[in-house]
Amino acid sequence: MAVAAKPRIHEVPDDLLAAIDWCYEQGWTDGLPVVPPVVDRVDAMLAAEARPREMVIAHHPATGLDLSLHAAAVNAVMAGCLPEYFPVIVAAFEAMDRTDFNFHGSTASTGGSAPLLVVSGPYAEEIGMNADVNLFGPGNRANGTIGRATRLILRNVFQMLPGISDKSTQGNPGKYSFCIAERARGNPWPLLCEAQGYDKGASSVTCFAGGGFFNVENHGGNTPEEVLGSVADSMANYGCISLGQSVVILAPEHMKIVTDAGWSREKVQEFLFVAARRSVEGMKSAGKYRDREYDTQHGEGAHALAMEGFMHRGLRPDDILVTMGGGDAGGHSCFIPSWSRGRTSIMQHQAITPPPAGIPK
């Protein structure tokens, strides 16, 4: 087990507002005020985790910096998290620590990646996460602060500082916070955590290096093909079509149309994979065609649905995470493209371990 060195403590005057300003002066914030990480609050945060605070849970390959449970807890306090949110943050970093997520690229790139966290299973509801109206915010403390803590850790622990080591050309609003819960209420499909193979009653967090947010408006479509056709059109736009993965969050209105027709998640994924495509000629007209990418999609091991003469988004249907989220009213789904234009960051998921003493009531 990797172990971190003893953390540093700063003595500051007993003035809360001055302490907030002091945190700004240290360069510890994302531009918004932070909760000063007083020792007691950090210790309370760590009570949600059974393992020792010195334990290292993630490592940044380019900077060589480690993330300990302690440092994660400090940043969670600063973001405004409650202790019961902490297991989600820990699980997210354990997931993102895997090589295939590519921590360095997804935090440093000009592409403006923000880690999207999708929490699935009963734990989301137990800690009061929002899976409903205003899904992507604002308004919910758990969603907002878990996503913010994730970003503060990247900034403060891994030193991915905007303009210095984070070279994002235009940034991304998700770099403040990008965290949602999967909607279980009225969801006709197995939850993601079930589809991912976790035990009944378990919850998971899925982490995806997201590249932005596309609203898919469709109030006129009344069939799966019409509704999903508009989703696929967003996925295949010349601004983002690539070999990368995708996240699609279907609004309940759209989900009803799809599932009333008997479509499963797998059928939706296959439809989207086939429909989210551009011709080789079209790709060339936009200056986005590369032989190497075409060969990757159509060469050895190509998916049977990959059509000759076309570039699809992703390599196969299960590259598309599809689930339901958002409020009951409105024909507004969304598509979130991968930051990665290829296969340099693959989404990861991890089980959430609830606090050893349970969730405070």
Binding site: I9, H10, V12, H70, S106
Partner: protein, 92 residues
């Protein structure tokens, strides 16, 4: 009021610059391209200047499969044995 630092406690990694080359004449060049559009072409153009002006030879062209991840240590170790200096850069 006592505040914890939110930063990593990992000691800063020490980095050293390689000693400057006394001469470029006749040295072996390695190229490490990042796999992005035009990276290979750009690096070969740069290397050609060293060949033309200093009689260098291009000995190794290594390619990163993942442009945004550090080069595998095995790649760097191998290239270091075969060349006197390495040229790399971002293609896109």
């Amino acid at each position: 009021m006592q505040l914890y630092s939110p930063m990593s406690t990992t000691p800063k990694r020490k980095a050293f610059r390689a000693p400057p080359l006394a001469s470029l004449e006749g040295l072996r060049i390695g190229l490490l391209e990042n796999g992005k559009l035009n990276a290979d072409e750009m690096l070969r153009e740069v290397a050609a200047l060293f060949v033309e002006r200093h009689g260098c030879t291009i000995r190794t062209v290594a390619s990163k499969r993942n442009a945004s991840a550090p080069a595998p240590s095995a790649t760097l170790t191998q290239v270091a044995q075969e060349v006197d200096f390495l040229i790399t850069g971002l293609g896109d």
